[in-house]
């Protein structure tokens, strides 16, 4: 046992003194994510180390938001015809788009590209910046502001002077606040497409009714071309987000999965396509998304850093 005080909260049915960490709701020995900035613009880094980040695309002005994908082939805004998927929608410079840290600074480049003659542009791009280091070593001290501040330390550092990353809780910064968790299941029936039959979509959705587009996990985006291990099987979205997409989507090619939010709902949509030279059979499948919707608003912008 450590020789410093620890605050633990157990999940229902468990004893915080003896249960495994996985059965706790909270432990002051853990670092909780601390958001110091949300922005739609580039940010000149003054931290002295590289912060971790999360990014969300705003697909168009009528609110849909989705997580980032760093792929060569990526679907564009909802108002473009790339969602017909006759051909994959190309992003012009995937290496440079999205949220990146170049040198020391956070660079935001909203996606744009084309789909066979039609240019498309995302409406905007937002980044959540965390004190959690991506690279480099955080400083060891931080000025304590006057006024009410709630700090909970790990016990081995002085909460009054430590850098906030080292505190278990720190009211000077935002964090990810869970609004709703649940399971979203998308069921697609067995179907055999006739030659060149029109595509079919299958959608599952869950209401959150927050009135704005909330941050959500897992970081699933739109335009995920399902590779051969996923294109006709049931699977869990959360467990497969590390995979690269199939090379092509659309007719004769891979199905597409889209995940996005707007101000009332979280959506998951599957696109299935026919072949133009033979029939194409799909199995009955279930795609499962274990979602977490946070109170955090994707397109809120703030800066809580004082260095």
């Amino acid at each position: 046992m450590p020789n410093h005080p620890i605050t633990k909260i157990a999940r229902k049915g468990f004893d915080a003194r003896y249960c495994a960490d996985k059965d706790l709701s909270f432990s002051s020995e853990w670092k909780s994510p601390k958001i110091f900035k949300q922005t739609s613009k580039n940010w000149t880094n003054i931290l002295g180390y590289l912060p971790s980040f999360m990014g969300f695309r705003q697909l168009n002005s009528s609110v849909p938001f989705t997580a980032l994908n760093n792929y060569e082939y990526i679907s564009g805004g909802f108002d473009t015809n790339c969602f017909t998927h006759d051909n994959p929608a190309l992003i012009s410079y995937p290496d440079f788009m999205g949220v990146s840290i170049f040198d020391q600074d956070v660079i935001l480049s909203p996606y744009y590209g084309y789909t066979w003659g039609t240019d498309w542009y995302d409406e905007n791009l937002f980044a959540l910046l965390f004190l959690d280091p991506l690279f480099g070593t955080p400083p060891t001290t931080y000025p304590l502001r006057s006024g009410g501040v709630y700090l909970l330390g790990k016990g081995d550092v002085d909460v009054r002077t430590s850098f906030p990353y080292d505190n278990a809780m720190d009211s000077r910064f935002d964090t990810l606040k869970i609004f709703k968790t649940g399971t979203l299941e998308l069921k697609a029936p067995a179907k055999t497409f006739a030659v060149s039959e029109a595509y079919q979509t299958y959608t599952a959705e869950i209401e959150h009714n927050l009135g704005y587009a909330p941050v959500f996990l897992p970081e699933a985006g739109v335009g995920w071309a399902l590779d051969s291990s996923l294109d006709d099987d049931s699977f869990i979205v959360n467990d497969n987000l590390g995979r690269l997409p199939a090379d092509y989507a659309g007719i004769n090619s891979a199905p597409i999965l889209d995940v996005w939010v707007d101000d009332t709902k979280l959506y998951m949509r599957l696109w299935r396509f026919a072949n133009d030279w033979s029939t194409r059979a799909y199995s009955e499948i279930t795609i499962t998304l274990y979602y977490t919707i946070f109170y955090n608003k994707i397109n809120e912008e703030f800066d809580l850093l004082e260095i």
Binding site: R11, D21, K22, W30, L50, S52, F53, M54, G55, L68, N70, Y71, E72, P94, D95, F96, G98, V99, S100, I101, F102, D103, I107, D132, L134, F135, I178, T181, G182, T183, L217, P218, E219, S229, I236, N238, D239, N240, L241, G242, R243, L244, Y290, T292
Partner: protein, 99 residues
């Protein structure tokens, strides 16, 4: 689940976390592409340039990605000597909070 094709990313490294479930993964890698050097979220596909004697600059497709081998191991695929930062989150966990 089968491993991705070898030629897509010839090197891999396992992270054994022994959590007994598949945790939320957030990972970042440092890429160099057309002279632009920076950190990107994983998975990522990008282009790299390599000088080939007798030919000149060759444009190469690169990728960094991962898969959960089982409930205790995550396998990351990429290039030799790449830098990779991996954050594993205890929560949210799909079998703990979800109805």
């Amino acid at each position: 689940m089968s491993a991705p094709p070898f030629e897509e990313a010839p090197y891999y490294k396992d992270i054994v976390h022994n959590l007994g479930y598949k945790p939320l993964v957030r990972a970042f890698t440092f890429i160099s592409s057309y002279g632009l050097n920076g950190w990107r979220k994983v998975p990522v596909a990008y282009y790299d340039r390599e000088w080939v004697d007798g030919i000149g600059w060759a444009i190469l497709g690169r990728s960094v990605f991962y898969e959960h081998i089982d409930d205790n191991t995550i396998r990351f695929y990429g290039q030799q000597d790449m830098q990779l930062i991996v954050l594993l989150y205890l929560e949210p966990r799909k079998d703990a909070w979800y109805a």
